[in-house]
């Protein structure tokens, strides 16, 4: 069991150093450091609004940091040209929380979409690739359905098939477990494990569900206040003793993340300040 | 049943329909319709005054359009307005002594040239075939445009007994 991934020999696929970024005037990252090791499943957790999804957007170059460095496969993402960025994105699969299937196209055309856009493969080969990917997620029979006819879990699996159509080096999962029933959850978990194990695809998961993460992830980062506040093995991290992990995994109301949004003096706001009782 | 192909076919139909409408508008409802009525021959007429007659105005005979005005110029010597008309080739039996007049369609309508037929009798050979207009002919008898201002002026002068 891996407990300290910094002892990894191979250079990490994603290396983040001193990442600082602001969004809407608020600091999202304040000198964030983390590594995503190759061929592993890494989970990123944290309270809502800590910029977990924002981190994925930085990895794909949708957002630019104010300072710091973010390298994917040795390339500095913020230094890429539009062409270089698009080339990089072709090697990254991204699974949206709401699947983001193109509503105009059938399941088959959705999975075929990246192929049609970036290759000039003969229709026969294209069809074989798409059906292989759909078979991998168990939805070959649903190829001719429209996205509106799919359940949430099925839509997510179609989106996963689309994300892996180019056999990417990295898949980013944005909240893949939200809104799934236990069966669909188990199916998605199985797919993440299978893809990682059989294809060796590096996976990054952004999620809240520790129980689900413990089943798939090799390593967990807990992000809060723009920094990594805890990291480690998913089975051990809840007990590492820091107050962050105690509040987050224990589900406590108050702690480093306060119950009260910062506000002025309560008595003063009610007009009671200084009045004789 | 490729859905993509049916889109393309429908779109093609739409574009064709649009262009057909454009061709209809441009050729059937504008002066272009008058420019292309087959082969024509040219005749001229000199008027004292053409009024508001414009190039492209119709030339009519008994109310039927037989051609159009192609040019209006001022003859520097005679100081008359020389109007050139293109008459359809199929109207090839217009008597040579017909007269041309500048008329107004309705009270305020556009002006046009009305051709009143003559007898066509050849004075040298009264029993022979009638003389007809041909390319380069000129109308001998003409009647200028009726000017509203002249009419009013005439009325004021001629109607003077009412003043006395």
């Amino acid at each position: 069991m891996m407990t300290d991934h910094t002892s990894q020999q191979a250079p990490p696929l994603v290396r983040v150093r001193g990442l600082t970024a602001h969004l809407g005037g608020r600091a999202v990252f304040d000198g964030l450091d983390l590594d995503i090791p190759r061929g592993k499943v890494t989970a990123i957790m944290g309270p809502s609004g800590t910029g977990k999804t924002t981190l994925l957007k930085h990895i794909t170059g949708q957002l630019k940091a104010d300072s710091g460095s973010l390298q994917v496969d040795g390339q500095e993402v913020s230094g890429l040209t539009r062409k270089g960025l698009y080339d990089l994105r072709e090697r990254i699969g991204y699974l949206f929380q709401n699947s983001a299937l193109l509503t105009d196209y059938s399941v088959f055309e959705n999975v075929a979409f990246p192929l049609r856009q970036h290759t000039r493969l003969p229709e026969e080969i294209m069809r074989d690739i798409v059906l292989t990917k759909l078979q991998a997620v168990g939805l070959r029979g649903a190829a001719q359905l429209m996205p509106s006819e799919l359940s949430g879990g099925m839509a997510r699996r179609v989106a996963l098939a689309r994300a892996i159509v180019f056999d990417p080096m990295l898949i980013l999962y944005d909240e893949p477990f939200v809104g799934l029933d236990p069966i669909a959850l188990a199916q998605v978990l199985k797919l993440i494990r299978t893809l990682n194990a059989t294809l060796g695809i590096t996976s990054v998961l952004v999620a809240h569900e520790l129980a689900a993460i413990q089943q798939v992830a090799d390593h967990v980062y807990l992000i809060a206040n723009g920094k990594v506040v805890a990291q480690g093995d998913p089975h051990a991290i809840a007990d590492d003793g820091s107050e962050w992990t105690r509040q987050f995994f224990g589900g406590e109301v108050d702690g480093p993340v306060p119950f009260h949004y910062p506000a002025g003096d309560y008595a003063e706001a009610l007009g009671l300040a200084g009045e004789p009782s | 049943m490729n859905p993509r192909r049916s889109f393309a076919a429908g779109t093609g139909l739409f574009i064709l329909l649009g262009f057909a409408a454009l061709v209809f508008l441009a050729t059937q409802t504008t002066s272009v319709a008058n420019n292309y009525q087959g082969d024509t021959y040219t005749v001229t007429a000199d008027f004292m005054n053409v009024g508001q007659l414009k190039v492209g105005a119709p030339v009519k005979m008994a109310g039927v359009r037989i051609g159009s005005v192609t040019a209006i110029t001022l003859d520097q010597k005679s100081l008359l307005a020389q109007v050139t008309m293109a008459i359809g080739k199929r109207f090839n039996a217009i008597p040579a002594d017909s007269s041309a007049a500048v008329f107004t369609s309705g009270l305020l309508g556009d002006q046009y040239i009305a051709v009143k037929p003559g007898s066509g009798i050849n004075p040298d050979d009264p029993t022979g075939p009638p003389l007809v207009l041909h390319d380069g002919s000129q109308f001998i008898q003409v009647q200028s445009a009726l000017q509203l201002e002249d009419l009013i002026g005439k009325f004021l002068v001629d109607g003077s007994p009412a003043k006395k």
């Binding site: 994105r89 | 779109t11 739409f14 508008l25 105005a57 359009r65 309705g106």
Partner: protein, 257 residues
């Protein structure tokens, strides 16, 4: 940022929208070469934007022509000038009513559809998904719709005008008894192909098509990704397009004549 201050500054807000849309135009135009790779998408949008508006345009054109002929016949009969009915129908439709009414209908039918569709794609992350599949959403979504709108409008306007002439003929000749030859010969004597058809029908409708689709695409593309935002953007497309069409019509008329 608050809604209240946004409402107070509606004038500034409107100006900012105009500027923003103006800045969006170069982005759209710059993506034309890349969007030609997705030429099929432009053809598909021509179907949705243009061909699907055809029925509406044809029916409305017919009725506009019919009511114009009816009104003009009674006014012109006072002067004994009913022969000019066809002429006036044609001139009114070619110079003003055709382009303007077609553009207003187009904004309501196709403009709103474009805004709602792109807005919904934004709200459901479809645009981000394209971005992450290394497909430029401007070149794949925005520019094909813009091109389709610019191509469709003149075609739709021609169909509208043809239907209006047909409607005018139906009422004037078939119903009210104007002589068929008079109807056409008066029209052909007074309508000029350059100043009326090209300047009126074609230039104006091309300009209106560009403005309406620019507004529609821009509103959809920049809408807040919520259902409320999409509804609001759709309304704004109609309002902004209508104002833009009529203001631009005045300017073009002043400029072209």
């Amino acid at each position: 940022m608050s809604a209240a201050s946004g409402r107070r500054n509606w004038l500034l807000d409107g100006l900012a929208q105009v500027g923003d849309a103006g800045l969006f135009l170069p982005t759209l135009l710059a993506a034309i070469p890349r969007s030609l790779r997705h030429f099929r998408e432009t053809v598909r949008q021509l179907w949705f934007v243009g061909a699907m508006s055809l029925t509406l345009i044809m029916v409305c054109g017919l009725f506009v022509g019919m009511v114009l002929a009816l009104q003009l016949y009674y006014v012109l009969s006072i002067f004994g000038g009913t022969a000019a009915t066809g002429t006036v129908v044609a001139l009114a439709v070619y110079r003003e009513l055709g382009p303007v009414v077609t553009a207003l209908l187009f904004a309501g039918r196709a403009g709103t559809a474009i805004t709602a569709e792109i807005g919904l794609m934004r709200a459901t992350d479809q645009l981000s998904a394209m971005e992450l599949m290394a497909v430029d959403p401007v070149a794949y979504v925005a520019t094909p719709r813009f091109l389709a709108g610019v191509i469709s409008m003149p075609l739709l306007c021609c169909v509208f005008c043809a239907m209006a002439i047909f409607g005018g003929h139906l009422v004037g000749v078939t119903w009210l008894g104007i002589d068929n030859g008079t109807f056409w010969s008066n029209m052909t004597a007074s309508v000029n192909v350059w100043t009326d058809i090209v300047d009126g029908v074609l230039y104006k409708s091309l300009a209106f098509g560009a403005v309406v689709t620019l507004i529609a695409v821009h509103q959809g593309y920049t809408t807040p990704p919520t259902s409320e935002g999409v509804a609001y953007a759709t309304t704004r497309t109609v309002v902004a397009s209508s104002i833009a069409i009529l203001a631009l019509d005045f300017m073009l008329t002043a400029f072209l004549t």
